[in-house]
C-alpha cells in the first residue's frame, strides 16, 4: 500500500508549483509576467481536475470545461457587488441578485456547483464509453455554453461579467493548484481510485471481481467536476471578467492539449503539461509583441499575430506523433536514484 516513498509523487509536483509561485512573486518580475505565472497555476488546477477523471477512467471527456464554466460563473456572479448586479446581470433570479458572498465562500460554492452538475450529468452518461462518451460529453458542453450565453436569470447571458474581485493572486493560485493536486493524489491512492484504474486496464476483469464500473466512474466524474468548478472559481477571480466564450472551445482545446502533451495517465503528466504549454504560450505571446530578441533576429520582425494557438497546436501535434504517451510517458514524479537490489519499483 502507500508508503513514504509514494508521497514523493505528491511532494514533487507540489514543490514545483510552490517554486513557480515563488518565482512569480519575486520583486524583479514585471507585473505582466506575474499574470502569466498566475495563469499557469490556474491552468494546472484545471488540467489536474480533468485528469482526475480522464486519467483514472480512461474515458475521454470533451465537456469538462462545462464544470469549469458553471464554477466560474457561480463564483463570479455571487461575488460582484450587489449594487452593481442590476447593471451587469439584469434579470437574475432574486435569490442570486440580492446576495453576495466572499472570496473563500465563492470558491466553495464553485466546487459544489461543479460537483453537483457533474453528478447529475454523470448518472446517465457514465454508462457510455469510447466514442459515444466523448460525443455525449461534448454535447453537454454545447448545452452548457448555449444556456450560459443566453439565460439571463442565472448570469449575464450574452453580456460580459465584470467587476469580479481579483482575489486570485499568486498565493491563492499556488494554494489552489496545490489543493487540487493533493485531492487528485489522495483520490488515485485511495480504494476508489485504484478500482477505477483497474477498470481502465480491463473492464471485463474488473467487473468480474465485483468492481462496479458505473459507480466508480460516477464518483470520479463528480470529484473531477467539483475540482473543475473550484478551478473555475480560481479562474474567474484571476481574470476579473468572464464571458461564456472564455470557457468554451478554446479552453477545451487548450486543456486537452496540456493534458495530452504532459501525458494522460499520470498526475505529474497533467502538471508538466499545463506548465509546459503555459510556458510556450507565454513565450509566443512575447514573441508576438516583439520582446524576444532571438525571434526578431530570425524572422526579421515579431512573430505574426495570432500564431500563438498555431504554435500550441503544432507543438501538440508534434508531441502526439513523437511521444504518444506525452512528455512524462504517463509516469509519475520520481526522484532519480539508485535502486537497491530486491526493492520493487513503485509504478503508478
Amino acid at each position: 500500500m502507500s508508503g513514504r516513498r509514494d508521497l514523493v509523487e505528491l511532494i514533487g509536483p507540489v514543490l514545483v508549483l510552490v517554486i513557480v509561485g515563488a518565482i512569480g512573486s519575486m520583486g524583479f518580475v514585471d507585473p505582466a509576467l506575474e499574470v502569466e505565472f498566475r495563469g499557469a497555476l490556474v491552468s494546472v488546477a484545471i488540467v489536474v481536475a480533468l485528469y482526475v477523471f480522464v486519467g483514472n477512467s480512461g474515458v475521454i471527456s470533451f465537456g469538462h470545461v462545462s464544470f469549469v464554466a458553471v464554477g466560474a460563473f457561480a463564483a463570479g456572479v455571487m461575488t460582484i457587488p450587489v449594487e452593481l448586479k442590476p447593471t451587469i446581470t439584469p434579470g437574475l433570479f432574486s435569490l442570486l441578485g440580492e446576495h453576495s458572498v466572499g472570496n473563500a465562500a465563492s470558491l466553495v460554492l464553485a466546487a459544489v456547483v461543479g460537483g453537483v452538475f457533474a453528478l447529475l450529468v454523470g448518472v446517465p452518461l457514465m454508462r457510455l464509453s469510447g466514442l459515444a462518451a466523448g460525443i455525449a460529453t461534448f454535447a453537454v458542453l454545447g448545452v452548457t455554453y448555449n444556456i450560459l450565453n443566453n439565460w439571463t436569470k442565472i448570469g449575464p447571458g450574452p453580456l460580459t461579467l465584470t467587476t469580479v474581485p481579483e482575489t486570485t493572486g499568486l498565493l491563492q493560485a499556488t494554494v489552489g493548484a496545490t489543493a487540487v493536486v493533493t485531492a487528485a493524489f489522495a483520490y488515485q491512492r485511495s480504494r476508489y481510485g485504484r478500482k477505477l484504474r483497474a477498470s481502465r486496464e480491463d473492464p471485463a476483469a474488473a467487473s468480474a471481481t465485483g468492481i462496479h464500473i458505473h459507480r466508480e466512474r460516477l464518483w470520479a466524474f463528480a470529484l473531477s467536476g467539483a475540482l473543475s468548478g473550484f478551478a473555475g472559481g480560481l479562474f474567474v477571480h484571476a481574470a476579473g471578467t468572464l464571458q461564456a466564450r472564455d470557457v468554451y472551445l478554446d479552453l477545451t482545446f487548450l486543456t486537452l492539449a496540456m493534458l495530452v502533451v504532459g501525458g494522460v495517465g499520470s498526475l505529474w503528466g497533467a502538471v508538466v503539461g499545463a506548465l509546459a504549454v503555459s510556458a510556450l504560450d507565454s513565450f509566443l505571446l512575447r514573441a508576438e509583441s516583439g520582446e524576444i530578441g532571438a525571434v526578431n533576429d530570425v524572422l526579421g520582425k515579431p512573430l505574426w499575430g495570432g500564431s500563438r494557438l498555431v504554435g500550441v497546436a503544432v507543438f501538440m501535434a508534434v508531441i502526439l506523433v513523437l511521444l504518444p504517451n506525452g512528455l512524462t510517458r504517463g509516469r509519475e514524479f520520481k526522484v532519480p536514484r539508485l535502486r537497491h537490489a530486491g526493492q520493487p519499483d513503485t509504478a503508478a
Binding site: 466514442l131 460525443i135 454535447a139 448555449n146 494557438l309 497546436a313 501535434a317 502526439l320
Partner: protein, 305 residues
C-alpha cells in the same frame, strides 16, 4: 400552411448538406477508424478559395475550390492520418481536434477574423414559386446534388472493384490486406472522395444557408460538430446509418430553427437555444441507444458498461 412547407423543404435541404458531410466523414472513418474533426476546415478552405476569386469566372472559381480542398485533403492524409494510423482512438480524436485548431488559426493569421463574402452563382438565391410555396432555386439544387452524389457513391461502392475493396476494408481491414487489397490505395481513394464532397459542400453552403454567406476562420465548425454528433448518434459503423444520422441532425436543426419562437425566457423555449436543444436531443438519443439510432442488431463501435 405554405410557410410550414417552406420550413420543411428548407430543413430537408439542410439535412441533405449535413448528410453529405456525414458521408465525407463516414468514408474516412470506415477505412481508417479515424474521426476527422478537421473536416470543416476543408470546407473552410474551399470557401476561402471561392471568396478570394469572387471576381473570376464562376467555373474557374469552382475549379480552384476543388483544387484547394483536394490538395488539403491529401496533405492531411500524408502529414497526419498516416503517422497516426496505429494510435489509440483517443489520440486520433485529439489529434484531429488539434489539426482543426491549427488550420483555423492559420486562417485567422492569414485572413483575419472578419468574414469575406462568398459569391458563387447569385441566380440560385432567387426564389421560384411552386404551388404557392416560395422556394429558392438553391434549395432544390442542394437536394438534387445530394441525391446525385449518393447515387454515384452507391454505384461506386457496389459496382467497382475499388468500391468493393473500400467496403471490405471498412469491415475488416486486416483480412482485406491479407487478400492483397492495397491499403494505401483504398485510403487515398476514400480521402479523395471525402475531399470532393467537402468541395461540393463548400460551393453549396454559402448559397444555401444565409448565415454562411461570409467565410471566416471558424467556417463550418458548428456544422462539423453537429454532423459529428449526428454521425455517432446515427451509428458510425456503417456509412448508411452515419449518413442517416447526419441527415436527421440537419432536419432537426432546420425544423427547430423554423418552428421555435424567437423569444422566450426559459432555456429551450426560443430560437437562441437552438444549439442547446439539438444537443439535448443528442444526449437523450445516446442514452437510449448508445450503439446508434439506426443500427439494427448488436454491431457497434461503442460499448455499454
Amino acid at each position: 400552411m405554405t410557410e410550414d412547407v417552406q420550413v420543411f423543404v428548407d430543413a430537408i435541404a439542410l439535412g441533405s448538406i449535413y448528410a453529405l458531410m456525414a458521408v465525407g466523414i463516414g468514408l474516412v472513418f470506415g477505412v481508417l477508424r479515424l474521426v476527422n474533426f478537421a473536416y470543416g476546415q476543408l470546407i473552410m478552405a474551399g470557401a476561402y478559395a471561392l471568396a478570394l476569386t469572387n471576381d473570376q469566372p464562376v467555373l474557374l472559381s469552382i475549379a480552384l475550390c476543388f483544387g484547394v480542398v483536394l490538395a488539403l485533403s491529401l496533405a492531411m492524409e500524408f502529414a497526419a492520418f498516416r503517422p497516426l494510423r496505429r494510435a489509440s482512438p483517443t489520440t486520433m480524436l485529439v489529434a484531429t481536434f488539434a489539426i482543426s485548431y491549427l488550420l483555423q488559426n492559420i486562417a485567422l493569421v492569414r485572413f483575419g477574423a472578419i468574414g469575406k463574402i462568398v459569391v458563387v452563382i447569385p441566380k440560385l438565391s432567387e426564389p421560384v414559386t411552386i404551388g404557392g410555396v416560395h422556394i429558392r432555386w438553391i434549395t432544390i439544387v442542394t437536394i438534387l446534388v445530394a441525391i446525385a452524389v449518393f447515387a454515384a457513391l452507391t454505384l461506386l461502392l457496389t459496382r467497382t472493384t475499388i468500391g468493393l475493396q473500400m467496403r471490405a476494408a471498412s469491415i475488416d481491414s486486416q483480412t482485406a490486406r491479407l487478400l492483397g487489397v492495397r491499403a494505401n490505395a483504398v485510403i487515398t481513394t476514400a480521402v479523395l472522395i471525402s475531399g470532393v464532397i467537402a468541395a461540393i459542400v463548400a460551393v453549396i453552403l454559402p448559397m444555401a444557408v444565409p448565415e454562411r454567406l461570409l467565410v471566416s476562420p471558424d467556417y463550418a465548425l458548428r456544422e462539423t460538430i453537429i454532423v459529428l454528433v449526428g454521425v455517432v448518434v446515427g451509428g458510425i459503423d456503417r456509412l448508411l446509418t452515419a449518413t442517416l444520422g447526419g441527415f436527421t441532425m440537419g432536419l432537426a436543426v432546420g425544423l427547430l430553427s423554423g418552428f421555435l419562437p424567437s423569444t422566450g425566457t426559459w432555456p429551450f423555449t426560443s430560437s437562441v437555444y437552438l444549439d442547446g436543444a439539438v444537443f439535448m436531443l443528442v444526449i437523450i438519443v445516446l442514452l437510449l441507444r448508445p450503439e446508434g439510432l439506426f443500427v439494427r442488431g448488436r454491431r457497434a463501435a461503442v460499448e455499454r458498461v
